[in-house]
């Protein structure tokens, strides 16, 4: 719990902070994030044109391609520079997921293959997978339960 003195300090201190530029950050996120999705659409169309795939089936190779691109950009040390500009624009697309996993793996290369790369790979993305699975369980089981009750 914060004391009155601490609260007063934090209120005064706010005056010395430049406000987070929410609007310009959002515009940047919109442009870069939208751009990555449009690129995804292009890749998807490419796969649909040259391989006998439906829109749904093309999704997997499309995501894999974007993941590869992001992993490479992370390796070349470019992705973090893009993200400083784009914020959520490069975090929210699947490329951000790839960057989070690749950067963790890369950073811990110095601790070896198993304890380093293997164990640390999921350091940031582990939470995303865990909560994805947990919420999918919750949603899936609820839907089944509802269906049973209706019948």
């Amino acid at each position: 719990m914060l004391s009155d003195e601490q609260k007063r300090y934090q209120a005064n201190m706010e005056l010395y902070h430049s406000k987070r530029p929410v609007i310009s950050n959002s515009i940047k996120a919109f442009v870069i994030g939208g751009g990555i999705c449009a690129l995804g659409q292009f890749i998807s169309n490419f796969y649909m044109t040259f391989f006998p795939l439906s829109q749904k089936e093309a999704m997997s190779p499309t995501l894999a391609t974007l993941i590869l691109l992001a992993a490479l950009l992370t390796g070349f040390g470019v992705y973090d520079k893009i993200s400083q500009f784009a914020g959520a624009g490069s975090l929210v697309p699947v490329t951000g997921f790839s960057n989070a996993m690749t950067s963790s793996a890369l950073e811990h290369k110095s601790e070896g293959l198993v304890f380093g790369i293997g164990a640390n790979m999921f350091k940031l993305t582990g939470a995303v997978i865990a909560f994805g699975v947990l919420s999918a369980y919750a949603v899936g089981l609820t839907r089944l339960l509802v269906q049973m009750l209706i019948r």
Binding site: Y79, L91, S103
Partner: protein
């Protein structure tokens, strides 16, 4: 001799005998670049990984510091060193091959002045004749320990600071020389409830203000006594807050106040609000400010090193950041 509760005056001779600094590329390109002894042109400092790079910086700083005055490690009575990494690994491993009695020091980015203060107490008490102090930090080791992997794309706010890559070493001795260590004010831990590790300037400013005000009170000095007062790594955000906090207590810092974190980089370098890290006050003090004193441009200097005693684990347990600041004053001896 103790003045008041937190300040010690060194009546016996304690002098700066030699200094050594080794820095990374970004610091070398900064406005103080020419004053550092060794500038590595790559962040790896020609080593395999980040931890080895930081160790290379400290070893180089120590080597240069001793070589300048033709001393060997065996001539040194005691070594005090610290850094930001868990178990202060850089210092422990750098001390491994030196064969000097060793004290590991830690108060985050205030480590450098904590170490100088303790070393001066040893010398002032005639327990040793000389003492070696070394402190280091590295952008990437700090980033991966305290924040995210270096290649992770997290967007940082403008209040964030950039950890300085560099190490500063100093040999203190009881043999008379140009610059004397006169006072040390050891700080108390202050926590104003800031919990944002990307805004350490705001977290540390109250600790710096407290130590600074205590120093003025217990030495009965005014800010104008000093030609220059520097804080360690409050950055642009924190140093503005410090001015305000000190002014609220009726003491005005004029243009003899600066911050090492602001001095070390050009404004257009990609460092957000400025530099931080244990190496920041160390390389600015031992690389740049000591040379300015030797030239006689600064005669009386007060260095207030500020430390955010941050632990990622405690942050995740919703704790706030405890902070500390230690001040040491240096004076140029009048020469005939």
């Amino acid at each position: 001799m103790r003045l008041g509760k937190q300040t010690w005056e060194f009546k016996q001779p304690v002098y700066i005998h030699s200094t050594g600094t080794a820095v990374g590329p970004l610091e070398g390109e900064g406005p103080l670049g020419t004053s550092f002894d060794k500038i590595f042109d790559n962040l790896y400092c020609d080593e395999e990984n980040w931890e080895l790079a930081e160790r290379a910086l400290m070893e180089e700083a120590v080597r240069l510091c001793l070589a300048k005055v033709n001393r060997k490690p065996s001539d040194v009575d005691i070594m005090l060193a610290g850094d930001l990494l868990n178990q202060i690994v850089t210092s422990n491993y750098a001390a491994r091959q030196l064969g000097i009695p060793f004290l590991g020091m830690f108060s985050a980015c205030a480590t450098v002045m904590q170490s100088v203060a303790v070393a001066s107490i040893f010398i002032n008490g005639h327990y040793v004749e000389n003492a070696l102090v070394a402190v280091s930090s590295h952008h990437s080791t700090a980033e991966r320990q305290f924040r995210y992997p270096t290649e992770f794309g997290g967007q940082k706010p403008e209040t964030a600071t950039y950890t300085v890559t560099g190490s500063g070493a100093v040999l203190l001795s009881n043999q008379p020389n140009a610059i004397r260590v006169t006072h040390a004010t050891l700080g108390q831990v202050v926590d104003m409830g800031v919990a944002n590790p990307l805004d350490m300037g705001s977290a540390m400013a109250p600790a710096a203000a407290k130590t600074l005000l205590t120093h003025f009170k217990e030495t009965q000095r005014e800010p104008s006594y000093y030609d220059l007062i520097v804080t360690g790594d409050l950055s642009r955000v924190g140093s503005s807050i410090l001015r305000k906090l000190v002014e609220d207590e009726g003491i005005k810092l004029r243009n003899n106040y600066e911050d090492c974190g602001v001095m070390i980089y050009h404004q257009e370098q990609p460092v957000f609000a400025g530099g931080s890290g244990a190496g920041c006050p160390a390389i600015v003090t031992f690389g740049y400010l000591m040379k300015e004193m030797e030239r006689g441009i600064i005669k009386r200097l007060l260095v207030v090193a500020t430390g955010a005693l941050l632990s990622p684990l405690m942050m995740q347990q919703k704790e706030t950041i405890p902070c500390i600041a230690h001040a040491v004053s240096f004076e140029l001896e009048e020469r005939d």
